[in-house]
């Protein structure tokens, strides 16, 4: 067992374990902490897949921005642990969730393990070619940030502008949603 396998096992266990503990923790703050574990492990998996830029983005965006937002909202709302309510609904939704999870897992295992002769290259890692940014019509996978910038500002020029506009729209939407209007009645 070499180092990469060991790291994959560690990060995979932490990612899935953090996720499972997150969805079963009663208090939202501990759920947020387990989510940080899961997100940082996913960043580690991105490093194993040689996408270093995406790993940095994952830590910055999820473990940084999104998680701070979640913790801030938890602080603002002052929510406590979830109380036990209506065991019938709980049983029904738990049953539905477990059945859906089982079907999803079986289908995914069939899909992944039975890939057939069409995917003979699916079980090996091709070596990287760092010389070209573009090969024919497609952009070549590379570890450098330069290739990301090249792709974003050539082939994906319109989507990145739409993404920027989406962020602006989200910002305006959040401001309007959380604004207190003058003369608003006290909701009670």
């Amino acid at each position: 067992m070499n180092l990469v396998d060991f790291l994959f096992l560690v990060f995979a266990t932490l990612a899935v374990g953090g996720g499972v503990l997150m969805i079963f923790s009663r208090h939202p703050v501990s759920a947020a902490m387990f989510m940080i574990v899961s997100m940082v492990s996913v960043a580690g998996l991105f490093v194993l897949l040689e996408s270093f830029f995406l790993a940095i983005l994952q830590v910055l965006v999820y473990a940084g921005a999104v998680m701070v937002l979640f913790l801030f909202i938890i602080m603002l709302l002052d929510v406590g642990p979830e109380g036990a309510k209506s065991s019938k609904v709980k049983l029904l939704s738990g049953l539905a969730g477990v059945v859906c999870f089982g079907i999803l897992m079986v289908l995914s295992l069939i899909l992944v393990l039975d890939s057939g002769p069409a995917c003979s290259s699916c079980s090996v890692w091709p070596s990287l070619d760092e010389k070209n940014l573009v090969l024919g019509e497609s952009l070549v996978f590379s570890t450098s940030v330069k290739s990301f910038g090249f792709g974003l500002f050539s082939k994906y020029m319109l989507p990145i502008q739409v993404a920027g506009f989406l962020l602006l729209a989200a910002m305006v939407g959040v401001i309007i949603l959380s604004k207190k209007y003058v003369g608003e009645q006290n909701p009670s």
């Binding site: 067992m1 995979a12 969805i23 997100m39 992944v112």
Partner: protein
């Protein structure tokens, strides 16, 4: 990387997606439902990066970039809606949002 094949990463991606889906189904605290949505998006991201790495094509990685952008916007709007719901109903449990119930 010899013994860890891309299939392991795909199985992990499906597992993360499934765990997030389970969280969306069984939890009633809307904050944790939003966190589970993030977990599902992360599973999809791992699958996309794996395909991008195996196919030596950068398009998958660029899609992950856009998914992260959309996820950040989605979390911001979702949490603002949650605060608005809390102001109205004094609760963030999904069974208390019953305006359209009957």
């Amino acid at each position: 990387m010899e013994s860890i094949t891309p299939q392991y990463f795909l199985i992990l991606a499906f597992l993360l997606f499934g765990v997030g889906f389970l969280g969306v189904i069984i939890r009633r605290n809307l904050l944790i439902v939003l966190m589970s949505l993030e977990l599902m998006l992360n599973g999809v991201n791992i699958a996309l990066v794996t395909f991008s790495r195996v196919g030596l094509n950068l398009d998958g990685s660029l899609f992950v970039f856009f998914i992260m952008t959309v996820a950040a916007a989605e979390v911001a709007v979702g949490l603002a809606l949650l605060v608005a719901l809390y102001k109205k109903r004094k609760s963030i449990f999904s069974e208390d949002a019953t305006l359209l119930h009957n």
